[in-house]
């Protein structure tokens, strides 16, 4: 049922830490310990390397595509404590901005919804979360939430601009003033929600359920859904689905999706927000869907393509 349609030969020299498809699903950006970020054109099952971005001086942990209304923009964050924003202009990718305000490895980057302009959240091992806002003319405004997670922040994910309830009391016909919100997960085993109020970022909620580092968080896209939903996964093997039906956004209830045997590294929502992909330490991906009675059920498993894998290993061995 699940079939490999494309095995991408990334030619990365070390471990790949993230792979992200762009807004239109035509390009795939990967980043690796080998300090590079690569962009592949994956249209029609192809895999053409279109860019090899070098600029980081350490393993690159995560990449994030910005909304295309701002151009082709990719952000990457690295062990070298830097966040680099890359922009494609006339077919060539260049550094648009380099942020060096963190004191430790930057683990996660995520672009906010386009309604807010170009805004990037970065979570770092120094415990802080930075919010970089493009203000035009090569200028970026930096706001920093210090000590957001003690020991370190591992993941950030933005709330969709139109969160149910966020439109309350807006005069109709006028572009509503959305509240900027995002979720973060960290080494303090906490999932935290942040909200901008009067230009200042404040901790909105603190969600406790995990018993070990939170590895990834994902705010579900809100495509017609009446509730806000967040998925979080942790070193403790557990994946929680947090939902909030309260329009004020104050009551979040966790539901245990599943307890895996190994670390769960990633959660990723489908475009419509109704399927959750979960990848764990056993190199397996599972897909989950909520049934009518509110229970989450595994609808599919994906193991990585073994054939392709072994051939790569062989070449490595011969190299050594």
């Amino acid at each position: 049922m699940v079939s490999v349609i494309n095995t991408v030969d990334t030619s990365h020299e070390d471990m790949i830490h993230d792979a992200q498809m762009d807004y239109y699903g035509t390009r795939l950006a990967t980043c690796s310990s080998d300090r590079t970020v690569k962009i592949f054109d994956v249209r029609n099952g192809g895999q053409i390397l279109v860019a090899d971005l070098r600029g980081h001086e350490g393993p690159v942990w995560q990449v994030a595509w910005a909304h295309p209304m701002y151009g082709n923009i990719l952000a990457s964050c690295s062990y070298d404590r830097k966040v680099i924003v890359w922009k494609e202009e006339n077919g060539s990718w260049d550094k648009m901005y380099e942020y060096t305000g963190h004191e430790s490895s930057v683990n996660s980057v995520c672009w906010g919804p386009y309604d807010f302009g170009l805004i990037l959240a970065c979570g770092s091992s120094d415990g802080a979360i930075s919010l970089l806002t493009f203000t035009g003319e090569q200028q970026w405004d930096v706001k920093k939430i210090s000590n957001a997670h003690t020991i370190g922040c591992n993941a950030v994910s933005w709330a969709p601009a139109v969160v149910p309830g966020s439109l309350v009391d807006q005069p109709s016909g006028q572009k509503p003033n959305y509240v900027k919100r995002f979720v973060s997960g960290g080494c303090d085993n906490l999932v935290k929600l942040w909200k901008e109020e009067d230009g200042q970022w404040k901790e909105d909620q603190k969600l406790e359920a995990h018993s070990d580092w939170v590895r990834d968080v994902g705010w579900a896209p809100s495509i017609g859904l009446p509730t806000s939903t967040i998925a979080s996964c942790s070193q403790d093997g557990r994946v929680f689905i947090w939902t909030c039906e309260d329009p004020t956004g104050n009551t979040w209830t966790p539901k245990l999706l599943h307890k895996f045997v190994d670390v769960v590294w990633h959660v990723s929502w489908s475009i419509t927000g109704n399927i959750l992909a979960v990848s764990g330490g056993d190199n397996k991906v599972t897909l989950w869907k909520e049934s009518m009675d509110g229970q989450w059920a595994c609808i599919s498993d994906v193991s990585k393509g073994q054939g392709a894998v072994s051939s790569i290993t062989d070449t490595q061995q011969s190299e050594q």
Binding site: T30, I223, L287, V309
Partner: protein, 791 residues
Amino acid sequence: MEKMSRVSTALGGGGGGAVSGRTMFCHLDAPANAISVCRDASQVVVAGRNIFKIYALEDDQFVEKLNLRVGRKPSLNFSCADVMWHQMEENLLATAATNGAVVTWNLGKPSRNKQDQLFTEHKRTVNKVCFHPSEVHMLLSGSQDGFMKCFDLRKKESVSTFSGQSESVRDVQFSMKEYFTFAASFENGNVQLWDIRRPDRYERMFTAHNGPVFCCDWHPDDRGWLATGGRDKMVKVWDMSTTRAKEIHCVQTIASVARVKWRPERKWHLATCSMMVDHNIYVWDVRRPFIPFATFEEHKDVTTGIAWRHQHDPYFLLSGSKDSTLYQHMFKDASRPVDKANPEGLCFGLFGDLAFAAKESLISSEANRKPYPGGDRRYPIFFFKKPDLTEQFAHVSSALSVFETGLESGRMDWFSRTARRYLLCGKPFAELCDHNAKVAKELNRPQVSTTWTMVRIMFSDPANPNLSAKLGTLPLMNSFSMKDMGACPDMGACPDMGACPAERGKEGRSDAAHLEPGTSHISNNDDNEETEGSDGQAEYMFGDAELDDDDLYSVEHDNPAEDQEYTLPQEAFPLRHEILDNPSAPEPLQQDKAESPHVSGGEAEATCLTPIESCSLISATQPLYSAHLPAGFFCPVVRDMLRYYAEQGDVQMAVSVLIVLGERIRKEIDDLTQEHWYTSYIDLLQRFELWNVSNEVIKLSTCGAISCLNQTSTTLHVNCSNCKRPMSNRGWVCDRCHQCASVCAVCHHVVKGLFVWCQGCSHGGHLEHMMHWLKSSPHCPAGCGHLCEYT
């Protein structure tokens, strides 16, 4: 010599024995510049500009043993840039002073001042001193003045001087393998190899780095490997055993490399620290040059000196820092960036495909391999026997695959196809529904298809399906309800319809259930069977619907009017017989409608022709209708259905039905929800690059916030026609000259409606007036003399 041995015994029981301890530190009086450990790993000397002390390494603490800075006014000879403890002579130390002096110290001296020899031959700071590994009396120094000097400690002067050709020397290291060879690194990026017996010329020179080479270190096992570190943030490993120095490994670190030290007993490992920015100590596996194997992050300022505690113990590292602390780091307490690193990447693509990158399994690739191919015999045998799992850090790579999830619900192909083919306007309501139902059916989405058909039946009026008629849906419903009430006391219609969303829910679940075992195709029949099984009352209604569907689609285009008749029974209202009795009256109506869909009188006319509607006709006013059946009779059902679709992630359906139904349903759903659906759908359409569809949806939407989306993307810049300056505010009155800017230059009235103006002189007016004027005169009608052009 007796005293020497006494000192060493007193300081920590010299020689042998397993090293034990824990991660610990002590505060120094001043920043350290360099540290060095005595051979038996029991003591460490810390040297700096204002410190020169010996500490004993005890199990759980550092104990200060000796302060070598003595005298009331310590001379600059005490200010150390570097220090080295002799590895054979336990009481012998050498320091490189910042004033250019090379000093040796004898701990065996009875006096408080242990200074032994003083060589003041260098003219500038001495950066490095190095004892020969096997020749007891031989000491080498490298200085900022560009010279390296070799001293015989039995003599008062240097025995030979090596010139680096005016380039500052940053490091000098005797080779472990070649008795007479030493390496020197320079600020210009070069590394030179010298033969100690030939001071006239270097044996070999190569450029190792861009910019200064701050440090170098020979591999402790005599492999002829030299590691160099430079300001270019790189550590390079050179094989010096060949005729040309060959770069065999290159590690790029985050900051410039100030010190490099091979890790004992680990062929591939080395430790580095930086003199700028970065306070951490890194241990690298040169085979995996991108990510440190381990880091020690204790220091709060730049680490200046690192030393492995014992030459055969890889687990203890000592370090001194500008933050005035001396640390002993335990390997087990090191942080391992790789353990924190995410080994997997996962991303849901737009089309429901899944990109997944995962680390190759370490174990499987390593299992068939020797721990160290071409392993060195010199390693203690236990090392081979117990490959420490925590020490495994070989090259790792990832495989990246894109998966097709194969789930109907997960894939998004249908989305763009549906979006492209749906009709949302431009045809009568019933036709739109039929068309969309057909599209859905062709894309194998029976549930959606059925919904469209249902929607049509619920809202269409066989007598008057004309979209433009405001209350066009009412007569049909009315007639229904009236017959209904009479013929069917149990109100059959309402509960049945009410049950629909729930049944769809079941279908939805059955989708999932079917998908798990591997069937991706769900036929309409399956669903209906399911429904039949679970809902006895409704069963034949769906059966009928199916049959009718088939008929419906086969004849649809030939005779739309007939369709309508046939589809009516799909509702499964108990009174379908009565509807079947309906004569073919709609036919003339259809023609009528097709020819003039906007004839306002058509409504009454059409209803006249339908016998069944005669009662409605008589009472052709709204109040009377609503007395029988309120306008929104089906609305709650449809509203719930739309909600259901939206919650399932199919916002497309919700919005499409919303648009097609228009006024019929709009008031049932609050504006915010509608707006949310619209924005979600438009976003999705744009992601799929369906610009035309998205534009159409924006145009058709009735939400203020949505329909203004297109307007906000167009900006008009206007100049005031009086003062010729840009209009800053939004109104039509210029805030500078306080006059209305939109006065027609021809008739001098304010223009309401189409306004045309010249971009050159900002004058303009009514479109017709301007056209007329400019036909006869090329000049601006305002008399400003501008030659306006109208094209």
